[in-house]
């Protein structure tokens, strides 16, 4: 029995230096220097193994992959996971001796392994069980009592460890150290008493802990959300893509009887290499949250009352019909599939006729920038020996699997990262150079880096960074995004254009965070753009005319972005605000404006899955289907289009967003031209744009494109932007950085039982140098005041925060930094006072 789960496919090696070896009498051509176990697997000979994993360095611990290898000195038993192929190597993987050795290894591994397979989660998909059947002796000669440990002990909030089942293969501990960089589990003790464990009372608190459950070759590590929920043979599986963030990791959805029970990572070579973050892996728990919206709601006085779809849609249509198109705004759309995003773009811009449409919530980068920069893929950024200029959000917190890829590029492939950040991040320790800038001063730092003006200067780190960038030339790649929500986007845009102008050939990976934000923008959910990057006002009259004839109408002029829409609403100029899976009250960086905007719009229509802070203020609430509940496609931050598959039915009468758009269009007297399936919308989008032209339904269905299709488009013209002018701070004030943590009070993550408790406590992180004049120490309570508001928070001293800067986390349960931020300000200055 040969077990090859989707997560452990052979590496996609391209043979550039062919050598011939003989395996079981058959000559095969393989890549010189690759590992024998890989070469055999790719060519159809599966050598049993436990410790070897294609995405980790081999250790040769389990001895299961012993084969007879003859390199001219006669055959000898050697572990095939440790041996590189050499020309003329003769290998026997099935000889009598090899079988005998495999018998012996299995017998030893089973000496202390309990026979609790009938109650073990792994039973049925267990490499030890499978290989004991296929390669084991059948019967054990051991009669002694087995070794006993306390049955499963929790080693983190989500992962349980059963040490009796462990075969000490070093997969989880290697993963923790090598891949995740969180060596919080380790072999403890010695000899027959060796066990995997954590330090007492220090849990395996890694953002990637769930991967150890997936790669455990026995049932030693199990995940709390899946324990005792199903047996593998009861599961139905489809491949899909995680939309928890914009990295777009490929996953398998396992379900049983219409309940999603588990996500596993799929080895997608250009993206996630089989890894997932815990937020993505356990995110399915929110699908069945108790307060999931199941039926439409319509406001009746102070409360939202259940209503029929017909009544709710009629109420919505009535409000839209009564308003002029210019007084209607649509915020959101990055939760949607590409198809739904296109349907909503067509509804908003074609049927309703408003261009006040923005998929981002003031926390991303303008569509002009996303479309205007030459694009890099993750593989291009993480290429061996590459130089990466990173000026974006902390990838460990916001784009965790991108962090794993960057870490691997640095640790294993000789890449070098130059990090520009307002304060230390999870990437800092992997960076060749990490430069901190005060909020508002990114422009000057970038100028001195790319102009080379300071390369002989006094700052050694700066000149090292400048030299690295100069040496990289046009192979430089840049990851760009919003590291600080308390600064507006202008400084980042200015930095991007400055780098683009100074370094010819440079490529950018735009690190926007939300699931399908890229797809939403490309499908037209951005002010001033029609699908396929067609600018309303940018001289693309032919394409605009084409959409006019396809849609019947297009907006005449560019509309407002989210900030503009909220301002208009706050001033009473917005009749209808449509929230498309958006919660500006939690997510828009300026809380006061969000509050005034949502309150000021005459009618608020929310399409969502959960009763978020904004949804409970709406007048009409339409329940939407979520991940795993609808068919479609999504686009990740690279522009990679992958397929989303439905596995379960949406709760109650919730339906996909495109269907809601189509129904609403019908009520408004329009027609989205979709009959029964979202693929009709996709076909229309693919046919009507150049951007998506190569990613048609048939192309995506081709197994050769299982990793998705990267859409390519010429960068649109993007004018150089000046860095904002920021006046110097007064002596007593600090500049605020607002960043994110992986676990926060977000709509989905706070509804995952196993993860909701992991959100950290809010703290104002300060440099000890700023704290000591005020006499502050850890956990002291301070009041933080900006020109826009104030809050009370506890202090945490943190030497990774530079002097003059203070850090708060966005969207935690307490001390909302949105109270301090004004969306117009280039920086947010704060004062900290004791008490």
């Amino acid at each position: 029995m040969e077990q090859t789960p989707m997560s452990e496919k052979p590496l996609p090696t391209v043979v550039t230096e062919p050598v011939n070896i003989t395996v079981d009498g058959e000559e095969i051509t393989v890549q010189n220097g690759e590992l024998l176990i890989e070469a055999c697997h790719r060519n159809g000979t599966y050598i049993p193994r436990f410790c070897y994993h294609p995405r980790m360095n081999p250790v040769g611990m389990c001895r299961m992959c012993l084969v007879e290898i003859d390199t001219g000195r006669g055959p000898a038993l050697q572990p095939s996971c440790m041996i590189e192929v050499t020309p003329g190597m003769v290998v026997d993987t099935k000889s009598d001796l090899v079988s005998k050795v495999q018998d012996g290894v299995i017998e030893y591994l089973l000496a202390n392994h309990p026979l609790d397979c009938p109650v073990c989660d792994k039973g049925g998909e267990c490499p030890l069980q499978d290989q004991a059947y296929s390669h084991g002796p059948g019967e054990s000669r051991w009669v002694e009592e087995k070794r006993h440990y306390a049955k499963p002990i929790p080693i983190s909030e989500t992962v349980y460890l059963d040490r009796e089942r462990c075969i000490l293969c070093d997969r989880c501990t290697r993963f923790a150290k090598e891949v995740a960089g969180d060596p919080l589990i380790h072999f403890i003790d010695r000899g027959a008493n060796t066990q995997v464990n954590t330090f007492p009372d220090e849990p395996f608190a890694s953002y990637f802990s769930g991967n150890t459950v997936q790669i455990c070759p026995v049932g030693a590590l199990t995940a709390k959300p899946y324990r005792f929920k199903a047996r593998p043979w009861d599961l139905q599986t489809v491949e899909s893509t995680c939309t928890g963030c914009s990295v777009g990791c490929r996953i398998e959805i396992d379900s049983s009887r219409n309940h999603v029970l588990r996500y596993n990572g799929v080895d997608s070579d250009p993206v996630n290499w089989s890894w997932l973050c815990d937020k993505g892996r356990f995110g399915f728990e929110s699908l069945e949250a108790a307060d999931r919206l199941r039926e439409p709601l319509v406001r009746s006085g102070e409360t939202l009352e259940p209503a029929s779809w017909a009544a709710a849609l009629a109420t919505a249509a009535e409000a839209i019909n009564a308003a002029s198109p210019g007084s209607i705004g649509v915020i959101g759309g990055s939760r949607l599939t590409n198809e739904s995003a296109y349907a909503w773009a067509k509804l908003a811009k074609g049927v309703i006729g408003t261009d006040n449409v923005d998929a981002q919530l003031g926390d991303g980068l303008p569509a002009d920038v996303v479309f205007g920069l030459p694009q890099a893929t993750i593989d291009e950024v993480c290429k061996p020996g590459g130089t990466i200029l990173y000026l974006g959000p902390d990838p460990k917190e916001e784009l965790p699997v991108l962090y794993l890829r960057l870490k691997h590029a640095v640790d294993e492939d000789g890449a070098r990262i130059i990090e520009l950040a307002p304060a230390g991040t999870g990437l800092t320790r992997h960076s060749a150079v990490s430069l901190n800038y005060r909020p508002g001063e990114l422009g000057q730092l970038v100028d001195s880096l790319v102009s080379g003006s300071n390369s002989t200067g006094e700052n050694a780190a700066l000149s090292t960074a400048a030299k690295l960038i100069a040496a990289a030339g046009d192979s430089l790649t840049v990851v760009i995004g919003r590291a600080n929500l308390a600064e507006n986007a202008q400084s980042v845009v200015a930095a991007a254009t400055a780098i683009r102008d100074a370094v010819p050939g440079v490529k950018f990976l735009v690190a926007l965070r939300r699931g399908n934000v890229r797809g939403a923008l490309e499908a037209g959910l951005a002010p001033g753009y029609l699908p396929g990057r067609v600018s309303l006002t940018g001289g693309q009259d032919d394409q605009v005319a084409a959409f006019k004839s396809l849609w019947g109408n297009v907006p005449a002029k560019q509309g407002l972005d989210t900030k503009g829409i909220l301002w208009a609403a706050a001033e009473g100029k917005l009749d209808v605000l449509i929230l498309l899976g958006a919660d500006p009250l939690s997510d828009f960086p300026d809380r006061s404006l969000a509050r005034r905007g949502v309150a000021g719009a005459r009618t608020v229509i929310a399409i969502d899955r959960f009763p978020t802070a904004s949804v409970v203020q709406a007048d009409v609430v339409l329940p939407a289907a979520g991940h795993s509940e609808e068919q479609g496609t999504t686009t990740n931050l690279e522009g990679r289009v992958t397929v989303l598959n439905q596995k379960v039915t949406p709760p109650g009468t919730a339906r996909p967003d495109w269907m809601i758009a189509a129904e609403l269009a019908w009520k408004l007297g329009g027609d989205l031209g979709v009959d029964t399936e979202s693929s009709e919308l996709w076909a229309e989008l693919v046919a009507s744009t150049e951007t998506f032209a190569g990613a048609g339904v048939d192309a995506l269905a081709d197994t050769a494109n299982a990793d998705g299709i990267v859409i390519t488009a010429e960068p649109r013209p993007l004018a150089t932007v000046e860095a904002p002018h920021v006046s110097p701070t007064s002596a007593y004030s600090l500049r605020l950085v607002v960043n994110r943590k992986l676990y926060d009070a977000g709509a989905s993550i706070s509804r995952c039982d196993s993860s909701s408790a992991l959100a950290p406590a809010q703290a104002l992180r300060l440099s000890p140098a700023d704290a000591s004049p005020l006499g502050l120490k850890d956990l002291d309570r301070v009041s933080v005041t900006s020109p826009n508001g104030s809050l009370s928070a506890r202090v945490a001293l943190d030497s990774s925060v530079p002097k003059g800067t203070a850090v708060l986390v966005h969207n935690l349960a307490e001390a909302d930094p949105g109270a301090l931020v004004a969306s117009d300000d280039a920086v947010c200055e704060i004062r900290v006072e004791v008490g």
């Binding site: 969180d182 060596p183 919080l184 589990i185 380790h186 072999f187 403890i188 003790d189 010695r190 464990n197 954590t198 330090f199 007492p200 220090e202």
Partner: protein, 214 residues
Amino acid sequence: MSRLTPENVELAKQIIRRYPRPKSALIPLCHLAQEQDGHLADDAMVHIGELVGVTSAEVLGTASFYEMFKRHEVGKYCVNICTNISCQLMGGEELLEHAEQTLGIRSGSTTNDGLFTLEDVECIAACTEAPALQVNYRYFHRISNDDFDQMIDELRSGRLDDVVPPHGVLAKVRQDLAEEQIANITPPETQVMPRWIADEAAKNDPAASEGGQA
């Protein structure tokens, strides 16, 4: 029990400086902590991890490999009686039984006054002097039951303080390297490749020979 004292932190920093990588000082620092507390306390392992830049789990993983790092409190004197073949033939097991009776405890436990921990151990390489035992890893040879009782009395009364320091103390004199002696440790990343390795590498890859020329 406790983290390292301020004096021991200074000592720890000196020890760390002797190595090209801080992590290499992990075991010497475990000894330092064991000398301070008589055993290797959990808090001390956390502290050591902070000092050398590894996680507490990694410190525990390394320390727990070695039986001589005690992770629980032991007596001031750790008495190890050999029961391997030579000592066994010469009465080691009888000596162990006598020791259990004298101290009133089973092997593996500690007297109520916290002075003695008794252990039976495998060969301690003193076969010619059997039956042998160690007190805090200091040898006592050809021990009869009477010798044992006398030794215990002397330990109790402090007459052997010069010979046997409390558990955890490796040596009475701490090795102290002068600053100039530790100054020339080359960090691994800047080390020059030895000639014989560089030449071999150059045969396969001309670009790799740079290290040898430097």
